[in-house]
Amino acid sequence: MQAAINGFWDSIRSVRSMLASVGVMAFILGRLLGQEAIRGANLWDPVFGALTDTLVISLILGGWWLTWLVPLLLTAEFKTSLIRYGSPARALTAKMLYLTGANLAFGVLVFCGIVGIGLAGDFAWEWSEVAKSEIGEGLSVFSASTLAAKFTSPVIALAVSTLFTFMGFCSIAIVSTALATIGRKRAALAYAVTMGFWAFICSFSPLDIPQFVDASSLLSLAWALGRPFGVTHAALFWLMSGGVSLAVLKISQGRLSVFDFVAGRRGVVLTAIAMTVLASTVAVSMGVSSSADLIAWFFSGSHGDLASYALVAAIPLLVVTASATQLAKMGPGYIEMLLMRHGSVQRWLEYWWRVELAWAGFYLVIAIATLIIAALSFFPHSSTEWFGLILPGSVAMYVLVVLQLTSLSVLNQFRPSALSMWPGFGAAFIVLGYWPILGLEANFAAPYSMSNPSESWQATAIPTLICALIAAILASLSRWRIWLNSPSFRSPIFSKEK
């Protein structure tokens, strides 16, 4: 917090910030003088005309923001920052707080200027008649009317628009500061200057810049609101910048483990989302043309073609495989610790079941939510009669996950090294799901299979029940705790001899 106060204090009394805010005031005054003749305009029209103009914003970015950012980048020393702040993450946090304070001070200066102009006359708490009425092709995007269409009060619009621009500045700053913190000063400087330069080029828009690389929709709320998915792209860029800076810090400490990420909870959430997005995209590319068709395709299972089946069957299988890797990671020593903690094998197993069932449910909810979002965004004007299909399909898929988890548990209880057989079990589930031995009516390895939307519960009820029955039988088997009582498991605590 001290860093933020320092930044605020350094910025509010600096000549740079004062000159820059005077420059912004000059832009506002210039527009105010230009609109003297327009009837029905008030103070907010020139204010938003200047503050959301990408040219003004990129001038502030290049002429003021970089003068605060670049010295921070150049003076960064990794060892010094470790001694001073304790860890790279804390160093990054302190520097970002400092920049936040500096930015806040600039905002306060500009706000004081606006209040000063407002006191001189023309002040109102509401949008002007011009801003409320003028919505048309000929009008500039950078005007109060763009925001008046979305916000009821100009004060709220001012706060949101300033925050948006501030987030854009900070998302550029956080990556370069992270790079500087770990000692890559030149890379940090290159990133900051390149982004500033690119924002400047984009604000002229000399050519039709593709939406996803347009820096203007990152910096100006009015511009972002005017482009399709503009605000979404900006939010994605903020998230991506945060993720990149975290990754940079982790790499610097040698703490980034691909395997731990992939097999961990976050990795499985990402896998579930990615597989569902991939499946929906493939479905659309193969000719699915409405959201009802997409959901029916998703739950077609053994009635669909092999590629569709494998894409969807991969989701439960990958979820359970992550559990398998977590089990396989436990060495004998770790299991002893767990048994000591939980008191008995039964209690540990019950704990494991509770945790894994809850997480599996969470992953499936994420996957189904992604599917619904994909259906709504691929076919926004399609009817929503398909919601009825989702419940039987996802219940059946969850029961399938339970069955796969029980077979995993049996493998683990049989012998820890038997988990090597899990890929074989997974392959068996995939094969049996597409070529069911008990017939299509009793397809326990893909119980969610529906041949057409009209028979949702009728199609999945019996396979789901059979799946649950097999899971119950296997679950009772897994309580035999074969390997823990076998002589090959020489535990000093739980062996029978003691």
Binding site: I182, V262, D305, L311, T321, K329, S420
Partner: protein, 273 residues
């Protein structure tokens, strides 16, 4: 100046020969020479067909060999000189294996994606300037205007994408070849972890590639043959997207499951002790 965070300078690390990069350059040069040689002497129905001519180069056959060399050789070296065994007290074994596997898979995938992009540029941007007469739809009995992007049923499963402009087709083809290369790289890593003999393990991807192609083509399922679809799905027969995607998805899924379980169990694997 160029020190990392612990103060080590990059000079302290031994320089490595860029074997992978040089290899990809050679394949790329070979493919371009063969492709331009064909285009200079033949007439085609459309520029999409010219692109297919480039993808039908020698790398369609040696693809799994290159992939297993790029992805497998660093791991094979570390396995054979007991580097992993000697250093596993210094670094977590799963983390080390995960990084090796990820690097190999990423290199192979990125390399083949780039290769396909180069072929697309050669076919759609360079060839029209070098050999403007190479596409002659009228010789096929088509009208010139419709023939420029005339898509035929035998033109391959992705050819319809050319209607959105050739960069779309190029990007999708690059992603497809990259995904296949990454999956075969994963197969190479899995077979290295499972099989003791390095040379046998490294030849498993090629054997799988050929065996799967022979079986599916005998079964009259050309769209499922890796030889026909892995680099770019185009052949003499007609096939649909579902056939093309199925073997890649299944192989990718089984490779992913096996690789994660193998790496999770690596500390109990006698090869690393």
């Amino acid at each position: 100046m160029n020190a990392d965070i612990w103060g080590r300078h990059s000079l302290h690390r031994l320089p490595r020969l860029p074997v992978g990069a040089v290899g990809f350059l050679l394949i790329c040069a070979l493919g371009l020479v063969v492709g331009f040689g064909e285009v200079s002497t033949s007439g085609y129905r459309s520029w999409v067909q010219v692109f297919h001519e480039f993808t039908n180069g020698p790398d369609r056959v040696i693809f799994p060999v290159i992939v297993s060399l790029v992805a497998g050789v660093p791991l094979a070296n570390e396995l054979s000189n007991r580097f992993i065994v000697n250093t596993r007290t210094r670094e977590d074994l799963r983390k080390h294996l995960g990084r090796l596997a990820f690097r190999g898979i990423a290199k192979a995938g990125f390399g083949f994606a780039t290769l396909l992009m180069v072929y697309a540029v050669a076919a759609f941007a360079v060839s029209p300037n070098l050999f403007p007469g190479a596409v002659d739809p009228e010789a096929y009995g088509l009208e010139a205007a419709s023939g420029a992007y005339a898509i035929d049923a035998t033109d391959g499963a992705f050819a319809n994408l050319a209607n959105y402009g050739w960069p779309v087709l190029a990007i999708f083809s690059a992603l497809w070849a990259g995904a296949n290369a990454a999956i075969f790289a994963g197969v190479a890593v899995v077979s290295l972890l499972l099989i003791d003999k390095t040379i046998v393990a490294l030849s498993i991807p090629f054997a799988l590639y050929l065996f799967e192609s022979v079986v599916t083509q005998i079964l009259d399922l050309p769209g499922m043959s890796f030889l026909i679809t892995a680099i770019h799905p185009v052949g003499l027969q007609e096939f649909d997207l579902a056939q093309v995607f199925a073997p890649t998805i299944l192989l990718g899924l089984s490779t992913w499951v096996t690789l994660t379980v193998l790496i999770a169990q690596a500390p109990h694997n006698p090869r690393f002790s």
